[in-house]
């Protein structure tokens, strides 16, 4: 079992397509293009060459021995997606989708971004491939992440501040969808996570599953066996599904997703859609959603802008319901503790998103003990978070 969805993108009761009719044509065109590309040797070779000479793949794994002392002595292995060009796993997806954009004959991409990581990656791919690029970003986020706004502009993209709704990531997605409805003939919507209408959850997963494929081989070569658990942080869930997917058919491997519990799930101020939400429809698919009794989306809260999203990819919703993956909440405080710990024990400053997975590793390592092996997707580096972290820890800037 490696592919669980049906041809219409249903993962059990989740996924599917809840969009204006105007987008159906474009989604069908995209689905046809990505299915064709999957078996096209030219496309496969082109993407592999880009990953080798541009992304920096395969990314290495690192045995985090000093960090492991704080995680029950379990063997902690980090998959270093932070070393990719642009500093996170996001580049895997944008290069794939940008290549598809060119194959579909479209000249313009649009993207949404929260913290700016996906926006920077999309702007990078657009620069590399000569595509026009407009990035929608909540007005609040453009203020909080001004450095990434500048990066996108340096890369030649336009950044469009979104002033509707809560002025954050979910509203940036709404605005990108509105642009797409209007300009669908010339424009590809380069969605940044495993959510949205079919085929996005399947397609984005397929561009990220290389993370699990590489690391499964690397861990086997290093340790001679499969890990006991694979951990990743979950916002929309793209880095998590990327590392989980190859392991789904390995029943001995536990898959554990760490959601952002913010101030604590019980406070209501969190972004843990599976642990603290309920099934509903948001942004074109059925999944777990933070919503009120009228089906209105509730604003999410997390110190990590990249996890600050009130939904989650439908494949995660399904893996949760069938019990194949577990999802736990990690609070801001737990994540920041792990952030500091990895920095000081391994000399690696992780993204705050990723720090949620590291906090999970401290828990799971203590549960499983010294003979266990835990693989963690180190999905991004923390340069972008230095200001937030300095503020959190009271370091004067």
């Amino acid at each position: 079992m490696t592919t669980v969805e049906d041809l219409a993108g249903h993962f059990g009761p989740y996924g599917g397509r809840f969009v204006p009719e105007a987008l159906i044509g474009a989604l069908e065109e995209l689905d046809a293009a990505r299915i064709k590309a999957q078996t096209d040797p030219t496309f496969i070779a082109e993407l592999a060459e880009l990953h080798r000479t541009y992304t920096g793949r395969p990314s290495i794994i690192t045995d985090a021995k000093r960090f492991a002392e704080h995680a029950g002595g379990a063997r902690i292995i980090l998959k270093r997606e932070d070393l990719n060009h642009t500093g996170s796993h996001k580049i895997n997806n944008v290069l794939g989708q940008a290549l598809l954009t060119k194959r579909m004959g479209k000249k313009r991409i649009i993207a949404e971004t929260g913290a700016g990581q996906h926006g920077v990656a999309a702007a990078t791919a657009a620069a590399l491939m000569g595509l026009e690029c407009d990035v929608y970003m909540g007005e609040e986020d453009t203020k909080r992440q001004s450095l990434n706004v500048a990066r996108m502009k340096l890369l030649g993209a336009e950044v469009i501040p979104v002033t509707s709704g809560s002025k954050t990531l979910k509203d940036a997605i709404n605005e990108a969808m509105r642009d797409w409805v209007t300009n669908v003939e010339t424009t590809h919507y380069l969605l940044g996570t495993v959510a949205g209408p079919h085929p996005f959850p399947s397609m984005v997963r397929d561009f990220h599953k290389i993370i699990g494929e590489e690391s499964r081989e690397q861990v086997l070569a290093l340790t001679g066996r499969l890990p006991d658990a694979v951990l990743a942080c979950v916002g929309g869930g793209s880095n998590a599904i990327g590392i989980f997917h190859r392991f789904i058919s390995d029943p001995s491997v536990r898959l554990i997703g760490l959601e952002a519990a913010g101030d604590g799930i019980e406070t209501g101020r969190h972004a843990a859609s599976i642990s603290g939400g309920s099934p509903g429809v948001l942004h074109g698919n059925r999944t777990y959603v933070l919503q009120d009794e009228n089906g209105q989306t509730i604003e999410s809260h997390s110190i990590s802008a990249g996890l600050d999203y009130p939904g989650v990819g439908p494949e995660h919703a399904y893996l949760h319901d069938i019990g194949r993956a577990e999802y736990r909440g990690i609070t801001d405080a737990q994540a920041m503790h792990a952030f500091a710990l990895l920095s000081k024990t391994e000399g690696i400053i992780p993204a705050i998103e990723t720090a949620h997975a590291l906090a999970g590793a401290i828990q799971v390592g203590n549960e499983l003990g010294p003979d266990s092996i835990i693989l963690i997707n180190l999905s991004g580096r923390g340069d972008k978070d230095v200001q937030t972290a300095a503020h959190y820890f009271g370091i004067p800037l």
Partner: protein, 267 residues
């Protein structure tokens, strides 16, 4: 059994004109104010009313309706207020439907929602983000309650797909005049007559055109080829631009009466 909406289209066909359909989100400009707007619609000569269920993430809507939905939500509008507004409209003797994104229906309970439409005198529901592929539970609820399921088709809907959508519609087919979101525009898309003609090759149902209609001249133009003319953002703008509630209601009544003339001048 025929709904009030079905009866309306029989009537306007016999009068050789188009129907005027007006949109207002429940709870806008306020929960009580919305009911006054509904009354102003009817006084101005509107034939049918769409009550919008304000939603936090309305991807089909432009800035005007988004702002109205936000204003409504901030006053606590929920399903109860939507059905109240529906009842107000149907109580005034016009055909009334709800327009809503899918999640509020799913959250309320699909069959329960359809039944609440009937219980409040409504004729049907417009579902702008429910694709026919995902419509299984809705189809069952519609069949059980006899309400009109109104789906939206777009200029990009292919020949192959068009009959699949229109064969599931009841009441009328909602033709989105252009590729884009709701809002007023200086002219109605030239693609609209073509889309309506394509729809008519697949169904005998009435066809109503929405997106971008705001003036008597535009209503007249659309009434030349469509059975219904849908106006939303122009009414909301009239309310937003008015200095106070009373002048807003007057503006709504006057715009409705202009548009009502337009839908009678098209043929």
């Amino acid at each position: 059994m025929a709904t009030a909406l079905d009866d309306l289209f029989v009537k306007v066909r016999s009068e050789n004109r188009a129907a005027l359909i007006a949109y207002i989100p429940a709870g806008f400009p306020s929960i009580e104010g919305c009911k006054k707007v509904i009354k102003a619609f009817v006084d101005g000569g509107v034939d049918a009313i769409e009550i919008g269920f304000p939603y936090s993430d309305p991807v089909m809507d432009g800035p005007t309706i988004q702002a109205a939905a936000d204003q409504s939500l901030s006053q606590g509008t929920g399903a109860g207020e939507v059905f109240d507004a529906l009842k107000t409209a149907s109580g005034l003797g016009v055909a009334a439907v709800v327009m809503t994104y899918w999640n509020p229906i799913e959250k309320y309970g699909v069959e329960k929602f359809a039944q609440a439409i009937v219980d409040n005198g409504g004729s049907g529901v417009i579902t702008p983000d429910l694709t026919i592929e995902e419509s299984g539970t809705w189809k069952a609820a519609v069949a059980k309650t006899g309400i009109n399921p109104i789906y939206v088709v777009a200029p990009s809907t292919t020949e192959a797909r068009l009959p699949m959508v229109t064969s599931q519609c009841g009441g009328f087919v909602y033709a989105a005049s252009l590729m884009g979101v709701t809002g007023t525009r200086t002219s109605v898309s030239s693609g609209a007559p073509d889309l309506v003609a394509r729809i008519r090759t697949t169904t005998g149902l009435p066809v109503s055109v929405g997106l971008g209609v705001s003036t008597r001249e535009q209503a007249k133009g659309v009434a030349g080829y469509a059975d219904g003319v849908i106006v939303g953002s122009a009414f909301i703008k009239a309310i937003q631009d008015a200095p106070d509630e009373e002048s807003g209601l007057t503006a709504v009544r006057e715009l409705a009466s202009e548009l009502a003339k337009g839908v009678r001048e098209g043929r």
